[in-house]
């Protein structure tokens, strides 16, 4: 945590000090602050608890560096647990030839369609259980250098990416507030990994569009033993346009891991899936439901299942959003938990574009 704080303050110092005052107003990056406040009622095996918390504050700085490159820094503040660099990345958007782009820095990995999105954009609130279980509370995030290629096709859009990773995402299990002990010794320092993704987008009619894709992450998950992990993802998203302000989004993702045996564990093949339907009723309201399941990373025969429903209200686009989420989580080896969560989300700053 302390390293994250130092890095965050260093980034802020650089931003403040190296912008000439005369240019400060015009050339400031876009600044956004998103707050996530939650009221929660939880029932586990007849025992009820209630809580009210500032779940997260995200501070984002993003902008163009020059005509060919952009950069973005997102800092996450999780309750009293400290500041975390969620993303800090440089992208050469329009510099390389042949429709290539290069992203370098810490970022949410290009693994599936859900993982690269920021958590406050999820109407179901949290990262899918499988991402939390396999990679940590916020999903797969790592320092990466990645090349993206947009194929020169007509009719369908094909995107492919390939990159190298710092390797911390493969160690798994990073939670907010947990001490980051990766790399404390030479033995358990993360080793470089690799990522890849292929995605196809098509619009068969004016009202239906879909994207299907597959991703892979590979590298060492147990540096002390040199044990490797390979994670495969397949995903699909369908967007059905039901009218000028109404649409249905159906999305499904599945992840399968193969973890080599190490001194501590036998070979594990954990799997997980996530499926969601989100119906936007008009410019303000959306409703939906989801189901998901994941095996434990270290013991693939033990699973946790979850299903739930959500209702969202946007007062004015994304500036003020209220969501009510009801969900039931059933682990194999623990009593089921029922939760009712009211989320109030506020967003200061310019609106980001909506990606498919």
């Amino acid at each position: 945590m302390s390293r994250s704080i130092v890095f965050a303050w260093a980034a802020a110092f650089v931003l403040v000090c190296f912008v000439p005052p005369a240019l400060a107003q015009k050339l400031n990056p876009d600044l956004s602050v998103i707050g996530d406040v939650r009221a929660q009622a939880v029932d586990t095996d007849g025992e009820s608890t209630q809580s009210l918390e500032l779940h997260e504050v995200e501070v984002g700085l993003a902008g163009a560096l020059n005509p060919y490159a952009s950069a973005a820094v997102y800092l996450g503040i999780h309750g009293t647990e400290g500041i975390e660099v969620e993303e800090a990345k440089l992208t050469l958007d329009r510099y390389l030839p042949a429709s290539l782009a290069l992203t370098a820095g810490q970022s949410l990995l290009d693994f599936g369609q859900i993982n690269p999105r920021h958590r406050h954009a999820f109407p179901w609130l949290d990262a899918p259980l499988m991402h939390q279980e396999f990679f940590g509370e916020d999903g797969a995030r790592d320092v990466t250098a990645r090349l993206d290629w947009l194929a020169p096709t007509t009719g369908v859009a094909i995107r492919a990416s390939a990159g190298v990773l710092g390797g911390t995402s493969l160690l798994g299990g990073h939670d907010h507030g947990a001490e980051d002990d990766s790399g404390d010794t030479e033995e358990d320092a993360p080793e470089l990994g690799a990522s890849g993704r292929l995605e196809l987008f098509a619009e068969p009619s004016g009202s239906v569009s879909f994207a299907i894709g597959g991703s892979v992450l590979h590298g060492v998950y147990d540096p002390a033993d040199g044990a490797h992990a390979t994670w495969l993802d397949v995903d699909a998203k369908f967007n059905v346009d039901l009218g000028p302000a109404r649409k249905l989004v159906l999305q499904v993702e599945g992840v399968k891991g193969t973890l080599e045996a190490s001194e501590e564990t036998s070979t594990q093949d954990p799997t997980g899936y996530f499926a969601v339907a989100d119906l936007r009723l008009d410019r303000r309201w959306n409703v939906g439901g989801w189901a998901e399941s994941t095996a434990e990373r270290a013991e693939d025969s033990i699973r946790t299942n979850r299903y739930g429903g959500f209702v969202g209200l946007q007062l004015m686009e994304e500036t003020t959003v209220f969501r009510v989420v009801a969900r039931r989580t059933s682990p194999d080896e623990a009593p089921a938990t029922n939760e009712l969560i009211l989320q109030a989300l506020f967003s200061l700053g310019p609106h980001q574009s909506h990606r498919f």
Partner: protein, 291 residues
């Protein structure tokens, strides 16, 4: 290994299409109206593609990979500007197109409703540089046509004269129609849902007596809606211009309360052609004349 890498690099380069100097310009425009002006300047043989459908909210568009792919092959990207199509920047960046020329068409228009003093979202979804719906004034469209003719002419010097002639033809038609429409719409009064028709009213001497939204992008409360109904009743105005993506229920209330007329008309024209652009404004003028 080196040979493989060099081979892959060569394949990427070979697969990336580039426009030749003799080919018609390829243009991607944020909206149909900007596309219509571009087509008027370029002529029928040009490729003009549109990002936002006219019946969808241009303030909040979903950026699709197919749009980036389209823009990857374009020579020009034409923005509406004035912070209406902020998503255009994402499309431009996502296109990876190093040679793409990005043109903000609002640079040539007479901007209305530029906010003075501090601007923030307590004033609703306000645009800091001014009202962005400039294309509902045909004289703005004429100015943009002339500006685009220069921009396109620099990219295709051999066609510069043709572009200028086309722009002047379009501008002359816009001016001729503006004079005629002003005769028909001058003094007319109407209501609108959003601040979409401000330029239209200004150019043709019409008056917007009420708005459904109390502030841009903010839905009305019951009390505010009743106040709008009172204004319509007092002024005798019945026509309420509404975009298809805007919630109909407030206008249904006005229909019941004061016999308001729901004029369902997108702010943008249907097709990116000059004919569609003029037909769209003709439809708006006719809606004002209807009783």
């Amino acid at each position: 290994m080196h040979r493989i890498l060099i081979g892959l690099g060569a394949a990427f380069l070979a697969l990336t299409p580039r426009a030749d100097a003799g080919e018609p310009l390829r243009v991607v425009a944020s909206t149909t109206d900007v596309g219509a002006i571009a087509r008027a300047v370029l002529g029928d043989d040009a490729s003009v593609e549109i990002v936002a459908r006219p019946d969808r909210d241009p303030h909040a568009l979903e950026v699709r990979p197919s749009t980036m792919r389209l823009t990857a092959k374009a020579d020009f990207y034409l923005k509406v500007g004035l912070s209406l199509d902020l998503w255009a920047d994402d499309i431009v960046r996502g296109s990876r197109n190093r040679d793409l020329k990005v043109v903000d068409c609002s640079q040539w228009v007479e901007v209305l409703e530029k906010p003075a003093g501090k601007v923030d979202l307590s004033q609703g979804d306000v645009h800091p540089e001014g009202n962005p719906h400039w294309w509902t004034d045909p004289l703005n469209a004429a100015a943009v046509a002339r500006g685009l003719a220069d921009a396109f002419g620099r990219a295709r010097p051999d066609d510069a004269d043709r572009f200028r002639t086309n722009a002047e033809t379009f501008a002359a038609e816009a001016e001729r129609r503006t004079a005629a429409w002003r005769e028909r719409a001058g003094g007319a009064r109407f209501a609108e849902y959003h601040r979409s028709w401000v330029y239209f009213a200004y150019r043709f001497g019409a008056e917007i007596v009420a708005r459904v939204e109390p502030l841009p992008g903010i839905p009305p409360s019951a009390r505010q809606l009743q106040e709008t109904a009172d204004v319509l009743k007092a002024t005798g105005v019945r026509a309420v211009f509404r975009d298809p993506y805007q919630t109909p229920s407030p206008v249904r209330f006005l229909e019941r309360e004061v016999g308001a007329r729901d004029v369902l008309i997108p702010t943008s024209c249907e097709e990116p052609t000059p004919e569609s652009y003029f037909a769209h404004l003709e439809r708006a003028i006719a809606a004002l004349e209807a009783r």
